[in-house]
């Protein structure tokens, strides 16, 4: 399973109060108003909650655009049965 563009756009819109319709797969994080390292970590934690899995930290930090992030693989979290 990947993160998906809808999830990324919704999460960013909610966290930074952005208009979702302006967010496309081509949007670069560095272009986003208010984007910084603190918000990068908040988004990571937010996405892990929304997807219920874990993201590889290095791969996440290497993402330049929303599309890069939407294509990231979510690693399922082992649940004790």
């Amino acid at each position: 399973m990947t993160v998906s563009q809808i999830t990324v756009a919704e999460a960013l819109a909610d966290l930074l109060d952005l208009d979702e319709t302006t967010l496309t797969p081509e949007t670069l994080f560095e272009e986003i108003d208010g984007w910084d390292s603190v918000n990068a970590l908040r988004l990571l934690v937010f996405l892990e909650r929304e997807t219920g899995g874990k993201l590889d930290y290095n791969a996440y930090m290497a993402c330049k655009s929303l599309g890069d992030l939407a294509a990231l693989e979510v690693q399922p979290v082992a649940v004790a049965s």
Partner: protein, 624 residues
Amino acid sequence: MSDFQSIDTTNARPLSRLARLRQLRREGFGETADALRALLAEMTSPVDLDAAGGLLAAKGLPEQLASVPGFREQRIAVLGSSTLDMVPNLLRATLIREGILPRTLTTDFNQWHMEIMTGAPNLAAFQPHLTLCLLDEEAVFDGVLTPHDVDALDTRCKRFAEELADWAQRCQQLAGGRVVLSTVPLSRRRAGHLLDYAGKARLSAAWARMNADILELSERVEGVSVLDAAILSETAGICHAPDRMRQAAGHAFAPEFLTAYAEEITRLARADLGMVRKALALDLDNTLWGGVVGDAGVGALALGRMWPGTPHHELQTLARSYAAQGVILTICSKNDDDVARGALKNHPEMVLTGDDLSMISANWEPKAQNLKAQAKTLNIGTDAFVFMDDHPVERGAMREFCPEVLTVELEEDPSAYASELATCGAFNLIRLTDEDRQRTELYRAQADRAEAAVGVSLEDYLRTLDTRIVVEPLGVLNVTRITQLFGKTNQFNLTHVRYSEIALQDGTRRTYGARLSDRFGDSGLIAAITLVDQRDGSTNIENAVLSCRAFSRGVEETVMSMVLTDALHRGRTHVTGRYVPSPKNGRCATFFKDMGFVPAGDGWRHDLGDILVVPDWINATEQE
């Protein structure tokens, strides 16, 4: 997978709470911001609260909220030894939820020590009401070269507690306001450096002594409070940050822990501002005892030290502790009056007695109506009440008709009732005073007075009360109570200027308190006034407050007569004062006029010519 499950439901998804918050922001919060507070109350996850706090920091929003009636502003500085980016956001969300609008200041990463050692340049300019200092174990281990050397750790723990004591004292002096410290939790990762169980035990002992020393600062240093991180961890279910966040971002504490911390700080901020609840209204059937007394009879009730009576026994014991610390207990029950009173009186395992209960409303009227009547008799606001009832319909009705009452949410199983009440923190205080300890008695006397007042003229009645008023200057014994009175009093509060204990003692004003007693009992310190002598020969009344339990008894006239006479004797030319209207202080709108003041500019003035006399039913004295 069936066909039904593959249907695309994207469009049907309900808006997330954050999306609703953004929508509310666009539409405006309305006059009371109740919808905003209710939405924040629904949020429990740290992720949501952090994001909500971030959204609420946006440009223009704090100003918009500052104009909402009833919202109080609070300046809060956040210091720490780890990354605490989330804390200001979490605080904003949890404080706004409780009617407090924070302005926060954070210092750079790990600058907690440096800021104070350099004379607190940032804090002094910010003038915080609260300075929070949340330290993690690295602040202790920073001073240790060999993390497995138990002797070195033992020495370091002792030294750290001393350093922190010194730090807290300086911080309080430099920043003013209240300083809030926390104990430092030890992680299993750090404890795991030691291999032998004797060594592990020694480290834990040294660590516990250090935390005990830190906790003692709340007794030793004026203006310092200390939170126990172990209890916050129990609330959160987790203490330290996930390893990845610790490594990558310098986080020491888990988001859940920081949320529990923000919620506890919110309770403390409310207590510091005097925004405390005063009364607990309890249901009887299936709340204070198991079963319905009207159906089953007193003998069949579940109450006592054996299951299924234990949850109710535990709740009654807790309520009794609260009563002993000044919470007014009342009963709101749908029952016949004699049946309810009979059960309270006759059940052998009843913990609460008639002495603990200030009022009992057992009838078939709506509970909101009963609670309003109780508030009126006790002369407190309905917003000072907490309501506990096992029945969801009763809780819903109370929320509907009295949203200002704090209705405790309960699960069906009564096992957790006492825990729910004990952890909601609605009655938390900074420090207990003698008045708090005696309050149950005071309010029962108030209910008795209300009964005695039926059928005679007010003045005749007042003459029978044998009222004594003693006016005393500010001192170490009354400063806590006077601060509390300025903080908590809403109805008779002329200017809404509030003070910290430190501000009252800084020598810029003269402060007096007044005590009231009568034949029904001692009402304690019920009024306070602050006076500032001006260069032009006048004396200005900066603020005056009067507890609602002392209304309409001539206390205002007595105190004002003494203030004016004193000003005359000290050779002052005139006394000035101001009335600043608020949603609740309408009853003092005519105060200055009634006391013989004349309008002057935007305030009032008394030229000390015709000073009103102390009412003849009051015996007033001054204490040096």
